[in-house]
Symmetry: C2
Subunit: 332 residues, 2 copies
């Protein structure tokens, strides 16, 4: 029922081999016959059977992409970047959502590995050890995007340590001396650890003694933001907060409103990520914008250039975008 190369070949009095060459623009062939072949293919409604091609070539141009279901909305931006770059280089993206159910995760990864992928890109995903090992046995290349992992997985992300330094400096320059870091107190993802350390070290550089109470919140959620003000009580013991994600920042903003605080008069906020969410609030959130789209593009480039070795760590720059949530303090 389905139209195959053979069918086209028969109709064109050619061999399947030639048709294959023509339709793939590979090798040499006569331009005139080529034109004919293409029209025939068109008229017959031919669709390449990619499975057969992959099988025959023992390789595909498919990149598997893992996205967390609890879909941090910057994933879109990364994908946008990847998609363009992938399209131009003839790669396909196989995007798969990655839930929390471990059973399901395993099955998902196995399904991916069952299609001789070129590579697996993980967007902001933290994988468990068994899964990591599963991938390892398959010899498929892996890359973590936006998330630094240990386990020797190559990554493309912001330099989270340096980012904290920039943020602290920014706040310091605006006269802030007491600042809190919200949403990075977990031990697990390396990113949180790195940010904490960067925060502490940056404070030290300004001779500010680090107050352990000022690092709080072990998850990334709106609710965490909402609870932040109640957690510390008013008057707040600090003048500024660094929020580990935009969604947290919105929670803080609303929590402040609920507590009768004025932002930025009573509290300054700077938000890490800088997705569109930061533009939807009143006041608009000052943010440390990560270049997600570029991360996506670089991911493909790195793959093409064979740079996905174990120790690769590519950094993209961040940019601090002034909004309306940072108050400049007169004297310190």
């Amino acid at each position: 029922m389905t139209v195959t190369l053979k069918d086209i070949a028969k109709k064109a009095n050619l061999s399947p081999a030639s048709v294959s060459r023509i339709l793939n623009n590979r090798g040499r062939f006569n331009d005139d016959t080529a034109k004919q072949v293409r029209t025939i293919a068109q008229s017959l409604g031919y669709f390449k059977n990619q499975s057969a091609a992959d099988l025959s070539q023992k390789q595909s141009r498919v990149i598997g992409v893992l996205i967390p279901t609890a879909h941090t909305n910057f994933a879109d931006e990364i994908i946008k970047g990847m998609q363009n770059e992938a399209y131009e280089n003839g790669y396909e993206l196989l995007i798969t959502f990655f839930g929390n159910d471990h059973q399901q995760q395993m099955q998902t990864v196995k399904a991916l590995l069952s299609r001789q992928l070129l590579a697996i890109f993980m967007l902001a995903v933290d994988i468990t050890l068994p899964i990591h090992q599963l991938i390892k046995t398959s010899n498929i290349q892996v890359l973590s995007i936006s998330n630094q992992l240990n386990d020797g997985v190559p990554s493309i992300s912001s330099d989270n340590y340096d980012m904290m330094s920039q943020i602290v400096n920014y706040l310091y320059d605006h006269g802030h001396r007491q600042m809190a870091l919200i949403g990075s107190s977990m031990i697990e993802p390396v990113v949180a650890t790195v940010r904490r350390q960067g925060f502490i070290d940056a404070l030290a550089k300004h001779n500010i003694k680090y107050n352990p109470d000022f690092i709080w919140g072990n998850n990334i959620s709106y609710e965490l933001g909402l609870q932040t003000i109640p957690h510390y009580g008013t008057p707040l013991p600090f003048t500024a907060v660094i929020s580990s994600a935009d969604i947290i920042s919105i929670g803080i903003l609303n929590g402040a409103k609920d507590a009768g605080l004025q932002v930025p008069n009573d509290l300054s906020i700077i938000s890490i990520d800088g997705t569109e969410l930061t533009q939807l609030t009143r006041p608009i959130l000052t943010n440390a914008k990560q270049n997600f789209q570029l991360m996506g593009e670089l991911a493909i480039t790195a793959l093409i250039n064979n740079q996905l070795s174990t120790n690769t760590a590519i950094y993209t720059d961040i940019e601090i975008i002034a909004g309306q949530t940072i108050r400049t303090l007169k004297d310190s």
Copy 2:
């Protein structure tokens, strides 16, 4: 280099055929040998080559999913629903982002059609005619989710006509007589047309004369919301707006703030969609919540039950979720 069924068969003194049966739990086989085979497979680090399987079976369990790049964030919810259901029934989802570049769209669809998919699901996507025809020639089943299309494409969505009626009734019951509909004045997507008609007819049922000026805005965007108040000027000629999407509602909310209006005292807002975004605002948005997750689940179910004929139109219920953006007017 790669481990194949044959390798396992050799090691287990079996035929590839048997190994295939065992590893797929198909047909009859001896449980003991099965156990052996599985351990061997494990130890050899075997991964099924799905391309070969698909080729051999001339069929795959893969459902292609098209998501607009301008990623209305309810897509996530739909996918969540689909993913669970798909997982339980052994289907794979091949998610593909669908940009605006026509060239790229074509290539994307062709890539999809090159893998004997079971079906293509389109999430809130409006396809152009050539693409529609392309899909048609391939005989792959299609389903539009959350978006009603013409062209005889089966769909799962809310009953947009009835939704408008419910919304208008809700506003009416709260004393509103002058209401506007924002973001549905485009001619193109059928959804907009249906909503307009539903709006007008619902008003008529309450003997409210329909004012054409009160249907405004031909796109779905934050900016549209922001411009709404300036567009009409204050004092507003209506007491309530129905916003065609959450992102528009947020724009309206901010626009109102900018104009010095109090919501809901000076303006009531009800938002269509009811994604998490509605919970992030102050005041919280009253909304007509669509059941996106259910749409996703039903999509898979419909596929399984072979219900994807041309005229299928499955509706899921909406629910009006009271927030803080509707004022009850005393007298009318």
